[in-house]
Symmetry: C6
Subunit: 228 residues, 6 copies
């Protein structure tokens, strides 16, 4: 079963939408559109009546709402609707906390239990860079974390910083889908676009499509290919 990403034009390049209950990794350099994509994704879920969770490790709800206030895709309304839980794992004084997810076990156990007990349909986790601060041995625990997430009944978007499009990390190999935003300085200017690198169970090509940021937020031009 496929659900809409909430990003105009995106669903068209992935056979009509994202397969439910899967783990998607969204990567790209600073300013490439990862957070906007994720905000539209979670908004779409709330509009469709899904239980949503937005986990961030560096931002307040107010900040994110202000950041998205320039767009009118409805983020304000759904944030006010109670369909989205917003959890910031960083306290005001810069300390980390995961007590929001319960008090037993490590982050993997807690977040999986939370997703199941709260019956979360759609979640954003921002981001792998910060995630590492919650593990004792990242390379050891990250694969378990990703494998466990894949087995929950939640459609997850995991933001993963990644600066070099030719260098992949564990999450790119383990995720069901990998979506890459381009915003590289190359000879002749910036290349901006979105590329679906991988999408299990879905017929895709790997071409880069143009994107823009309009009043309605991020938009994909499925018929406009750009060169890398």
């Amino acid at each position: 079963m496929r659900v809409s990403s909430g990003v105009p034009g995106f669903d068209e390049i992935v056979q009509g939408g994202l397969l439910k209950d899967r783990l998607y990794v969204v990567s790209g350099p600073p300013g490439s559109g990862k957070t906007t994509f994720s905000s539209q994704f979670i908004t779409q879920g709330a509009k469709a009546g899904e239980n949503c969770l937005y986990v961030t490790m560096h931002e307040t709800k107010e900040e994110l709402m202000q950041d998205m206030s320039g767009y009118d895709f409805g983020f304000d309304q759904v944030m006010a609707s109670g369909k989205i839980q917003f959890l910031n794992l960083m306290t005001d004084s810069g300390k980390r906390t995961i007590t929001q997810f319960g008090t037993e076990g490590g982050l993997t156990n807690r977040i999986v239990a939370f997703l199941e007990q709260q019956d979360i349909d759609r979640a954003v986790i921002d981001s792998t860079m910060l995630l590492q601060h919650f593990f004792n041995d990242v390379s050891d625990e990250i694969t378990g974390f990703l494998s466990a997430l894949k087995q929950t009944g939640t459609t997850v978007v995991l933001i993963s910083e990644m600066t070099d499009p030719s260098s992949y990390a564990d999450e790119h190999y383990l995720a069901h889908g990998v979506i890459f935003f381009h915003n590289y300085l190359e000879s002749g200017g910036m290349t901006r676009g979105v590329q679906v690198i991988k999408m299990r169970g879905t017929a895709i090509d790997c071409d880069i499509r143009a994107i823009d940021f309009s009043d309605r937020g991020l938009r994909v031009m499925p018929d406009t290919k750009v060169e890398a």
Copy 2:
């Protein structure tokens, strides 16, 4: 003796098929076709009446079946036929386990014993990235693991993540065959294809052949060469 890979067009570029009881490494970036190749390989074995084993470290049987459900090469049927054992070395909560292979010795000993006692003809191991979590000292134990696998009576496909086609790992040197899937973003678009880097006892060239993903799964065009 050669056996079919189960991938249309592939056997033609390796003198009619893969030599039995050998270790093959399949490498490539995310989304390049490694899992589809492996699924067709194991399906072919089951169809031919071979005892098959699919070892994964990050995926459930249900997920893999769903991923392959868009293709009609017969994965569903053989998975239901009892000819394929599916072992997931990761528990629901993200813990690792190898008790499926027995309780004596390390992974190398257990998996070799399992292959022999169960008389496994064909196996997929997905993947070297995750394999490392089962060793205390990877660089020390991986060569022993690979050498032992080479000496079993099983035709093994080992998936090995590899992002840079000019940088080889131990498994590429030690395997009997190395099959590389291309899916790189290069100037002018994505290069997709398959390349047999090495195949002991087999006359090969090292050209890259075009591939596509049709309803029947992955297919190799033995007469269509693509530039790197």
Copy 3:
């Protein structure tokens, strides 16, 4: 609410100015204009009656004033006006000190408390390279430091050395805005310019604009784009 950067031409490329109370990272190689940008930014604040703070870790007030004495954007006057507090975290003998920020807790706690108790509106922190000397475990504490800064009521410019425009650090992912100065030796000469990589809540393009250093200080030519 937007405030002026104090750099002629710069505000025009960020929808009229910088959003207040946000964290901006300014990066670029030696001699690219980071310090001049920051000095004009802080001068602008003081002229507008804001409480300002300039934190440096390697320079005296006298040095900075001498460095800026070739420009007439008014740095002397505002430094004399009492609207700018200048703190050097390095003593004459090369020892580090943070007692200026209070005596309780680590640098993150102290600087956040200081900003709030002093009601600082605008601050420059020069720089991340030196910042690391104040943390026990940089990779662990830097994200907390940045997250805490983002939640204060201060508009912060954080100077971050960065030599390779295709390699990003934590601060580039976590900041609300990233401003990059170019001064690279490339075939055919030096490329000089400014590029806004990211600016949350602001419609930007990522083109590089020409800059020059006139008697009035750093100036951006919003209509003159330069190639990377």
Copy 4:
């Protein structure tokens, strides 16, 4: 005194053959021809009545014979003739053993003593990648190992994996000769060839010669140069 390499065409590019009792390093990526070269080298020795030793750390005698069974340069016959001792330093269960070489001292002492007591004329050691598992401190012991090998009365071919032709390892500096097989994916296809980088006491050029794999095994075309 020069001896034939056993590879048609190769002797012609090294003044008629390899100087006896010297250490030669054979390098190249997977599938480039290192093992086939070594097998022809050892076969040539046995045919000439020399005492030969083939040391491998990852392969059985049966595997190697099967790998070479597609060629008719006589490997089967000499392996059956008793002129070649085949030692596999890896047990069936993936453990390492060097007891074949005696029980006193480390690998260096044992192998040198073995070569001398058995009066070995020609030896293959496959390979440096695996060799490292036999040393406590590789960078410390490898130079001693190589220096000691150079002083024995045996003509040694040491296989050294090497993926980047512009990056050399200790063994390339210390060996009397360095032979490099090319099999790189470069724009426009694969480059296959052999190059003698260094050959003490021998007038060589460093051009790359074309090679092919015929029924008779590896063959060098001394008059066909290929571009790197």
Copy 5:
């Protein structure tokens, strides 16, 4: 106040000379002209009646005088004049010593005290590569050392080895000025020249000027630009 560098043509590209009491870093590959520049710089100081100090960590006074004996810019005379103190921090047997600078505290404290007590106007420190041998924790102490040097009443030239012009070190960010000598092997031959990367309080461009080594020593051609 500006002082002459002592290098013909150089002053013209930095508004007539170097600002007094500042820290300048001179970088470049072996043989690019760093030592000759420094020798002319210190000679100029002595000729102008300044108290000068030349600190080296690998050379005797005799060696340096011999090295400069091919030039007639007056090094011999000023070395004999008593205006230049020459300190070698390496003993004949290759041991390090800093007792010349006093016996209290570390290198930073001692050298700062020495500069002040001896009222040194101009100093050369050769070099950062060797400097590291005098610190327990280089990355920790080097910034303190540089910051302290910046606050003395001495015009300092610090030689910093640097092989890659696109990779900067701490000293390049912290210095008041960075002067880079080019001597790279590039396609088509060697590129030789001098480039002022950064010069606080001074209007510069960053173009590379041609240099040559005449009987009078190093000379800059301010009107001859060379491509990188």
Copy 6:
């Protein structure tokens, strides 16, 4: 005072010869000519009646003589003449020894004392790669070793392996002269040549000259420049 290098054509590019009692580093990839250059250098010294020392860490006198036996520059005769002491710091069984240099202190102290007590005029040390095995803390002791060597009354050629001509090591910065042999595989074939990167007290250019290996040994073509 200048002495001949013993290599035809080389002296012409360094103002007639090498300055006496200095430290020269000879670098280049395997097979580029470092050992041949050094052998001609030491032969020239012996012919001129100088006391010579050849220190190697991986080779016997017999091997070196055999390696040079294809040339007729007189190596045999001078090795037999007693003017050259040959010391191999590696025993037959691959152990290291420095007792040849005395029994007091570390390698630096011993070798310096040996050079002085034996009144050695000219020495070859082969090589820095192996030298590191004689130090407890290489980066700490190598600069002391080099500085001490520079202060002896011996003209020293130190062989330093170096694969990348744009990456320099400590010895290249500290030596009085740096001579680089080219033998790189570049597009279009091998580039062979010699380049004087640095030569204190000597007017040089940095162009690469063609070399060849004739019956008389290595020869430099001072008038034939080759492109990098």
